[in-house]
C-alpha cells in the first residue's frame, strides 16, 4: 500500500513541476516575442516599451529610493483600509444578521449602497478627504467593507438549523451559542472573502492615487502616463502585479491551513 501511494505522490509532484515549467516557458516565450518584436521594428517601443527597459526602470527606481517609498505608501493605504473595512464588515455584518430589527430597517440601504458604482465616487471622496492618506483609505474601505459585510452576513444565516436546535435542547446559553456556534460559523465565511478583498484593497488604493495623490505606485503610473512614458506605466504595473501575486499566495497558504478544519 505504502509503496503504491508513494509512487503516486511522486508522480503528482513530477506533474506539478512540469506544469510549473510549462507556465514559466509560456511567460518567457511571450516576453521574448515582445523583446524581439520591438527590436526588429514590428512593435513600436514608444507605445509598448520593451521587457528589458521595464526591468531596468524598476531597478533604477529601487536604486533611486523611489520604489520602496512609494510602494510603502500604497501598501500602507491599502492595509489600513483593508483592516478598517474588514473590521467594520465583520461587526456590522454580524450585528445585522443577529438583530432582525436592524436588519429589516437598514438592509435595503446597504443593498443600494453596494449597488452604487463606488469607483465613480472616488473623485468626490478625494474632494472631501483631501489628496493624502485619508481619502485613499476611505476608497479602500468603501470597496472592502461590502465584500466582508455580505460574506459575514451570509455566514451567519447559513448556519445549519439542526446545530442551533440541538444546542438549544441541551440548554446552551446565549453566550455559549455566540462563542461556539455563531462566531466560528460566521468567521469561516469572512475568511473566505478576505482573499478577494485583498486584491480590491490594492486596486482601490491605486485608483485613488491615479485621481489625486502626491505619492504611491498609482501616482508614479499617473506621472509616467502624463509624460507619455509607456515604460514607466509598465514598470508600475509590474510592481503592482508582483505585489498582489505575493499577497495572494500568502493568503492562499493561510486559507488552505484554515479550511482543512472548516467545512468540507
Amino acid at each position: 500500500m505504502a509503496g503504491v501511494d508513494e509512487s503516486r505522490l511522486s508522480c503528482l509532484s513530477r506533474r506539478a513541476w512540469s506544469l510549473a515549467a510549462a507556465r514559466l516557458g509560456l511567460v518567457l516565450l511571450v516576453l521574448l516575442g515582445w523583446e524581439l518584436g520591438t527590436r526588429s521594428g514590428f512593435i513600436d517601443p514608444f507605445y509598448f516599451s520593451t521587457p528589458s527597459r521595464v526591468l531596468v526602470t524598476v531597478i533604477e527606481w529601487a536604486h533611486e529610493g523611489l520604489l520602496f517609498g512609494n510602494l510603502a505608501v500604497t501598501l500602507g493605504q491599502a492595509t489600513t483600509g483593508f483592516i478598517v473595512g474588514t473590521l467594520l464588515g465583520i461587526v456590522l455584518g454580524f450585528s445585522f444578521a443577529a438583530n432582525p430589527c436592524i436588519d429589516a430597517v437598514l438592509q435595503p440601504f446597504i443593498t443600494i449602497l453596494n449597488a452604487l458604482p463606488r469607483i465613480a465616487f472616488a473623485p468626490l471622496i478625494i474632494l472631501w478627504f483631501g489628496l493624502g492618506f485619508l481619502s485613499k483609505v476611505v476608497i479602500v474601505v468603501s470597496l472592502v467593507f461590502f465584500v466582508v459585510f455580505f460574506n459575514t452576513y451570509r455566514g451567519f444565516k447559513e448556519i445549519n438549523p439542526t446545530i442551533i436546535k440541538n444546542a438549544r435542547l441541551l440548554g446552551a446559553t446565549k453566550a455559549q451559542m455566540m462563542l461556539h456556534i455563531y462566531l466560528p460559523a460566521t468567521l469561516a465565511w469572512t475568511f473566505a472573502s478576505l482573499r478577494v478583498s485583498v486584491g480590491f484593497a490594492i486596486i482601490a488604493a491605486v485608483l485613488g492615487e491615479y485621481i489625486g495623490a502626491s505619492a504611491g505606485i498609482g501616482h508614479m503610473i499617473d506621472n509616467a502616463q502624463a509624460n507619455f512614458d509607456a515604460t514607466g506605466v509598465m514598470a508600475g504595473l509590474l510592481v503592482l502585479t508582483v505585489t498582489v501575486a505575493l499577497l495572494d499566495a500568502l493568503l492562499s497558504v493561510i486559507e488552505r491551513r484554515y479550511s482543512l478544519r472548516g467545512s468540507r
Binding site: 445549519n160 439542526t162 446545530i163 436546535k165 440541538n166 444546542a167 438549544r168 435542547l169 441541551l170 440548554g171 446552551a172 446559553t173 455559549q176 461556539h180 456556534i181 466560528p184 460559523a185 469561516a188 482543512l260 478544519r261 472548516g262 467545512s263 468540507r264
Partner: protein, 258 residues
Amino acid sequence: MSEPLVQIENAVKRFKTPAKGILSVLDGLSIAFAKGEFVCLLGPSGCGKSTLLNAIAGQERLDAGEIRIGGTTKPIAGESLRVAMVWQSDSLLPWKTAQANVEFSLLVSGIKGNQRQQRALKWLQAVGLQGFEAYYPAQLSEGMRQRVSLAAALSIEPDLLLMDEPFGALDVYTKLQIEKEVVRLWEAMDATIIMVTHDVQEAVALADRVIMLTARPTTVAFETRIDLPRPRDLDRIYGDPRFHTKVSELWQALTNPG
C-alpha cells in the same frame, strides 16, 4: 407501569399550506412512554413523526394539547431531567474535532470542566471511535459522524434520548454495527429512548415496544410489545424465528391497515 416519563395528550399540530389551506399533522394524538422504555415509532413518510419528536424536544410548539415530561409541561432543559437528541441530519459543529464536539454538548449541559475531557474520551471509545478524537467532521464518514452525534448525546447521560431516523442514511452493514452499540450501551443505562424509524426490522430488533402510526392526521394505528429477551444480541436475533414472526406481523399491519 408506574407514572410515565413522557405523556402526550391530545396533541394537535397544524401547518398552513402554500395554497392557503390547513394541513392537520397531529389531531388529538395521545401516547405515553414509560421510564426506561425503548420505543420505536413507525409510520408512513410525512405522517408527523419528526414533528412529534421535535415537539417532545420542545423545538416545536403544539397548537393544542400538552406534552408532560417527568410530570411537568415546563421547558425540559435542566439538571433534574436531561434530554438529548440524535437528529436526522448532521448536528455536529464542523469547526470542532470529534472530541471537542462531545465536550461541547457536555459544556452546554452544564458539566464541570475537569470532567468533560474524560467523559468525552470515554464515550467516543464506547461508540468505537478511539483514535479519531482529533478528526474534524469533514474528515469522517457519515457513519462515523453519526457515531460522534450518538456519543455526544449519550455523554450527558440523558434520562430521555430522542432519535429521529438516526441511521436512515447509512448502509446496511454500518447501520447494524451502530445498532449493536446502541443496544449494548442502552442496556447498561436506564434511559428512555424514543426512536423514529422507517425500518421495521430495526424497530423490532431494538425496541421494547413498537408504535405504528397512521398517515396524516396521525393517530396510533397499532402497537405491539416486542418480548424478545434482553440483553439482545443483534447478530443472533436476526436468525431468531420469533423475530421474523414479529417483523411479518408488523409488515402485515403496515401494508393492510384497518
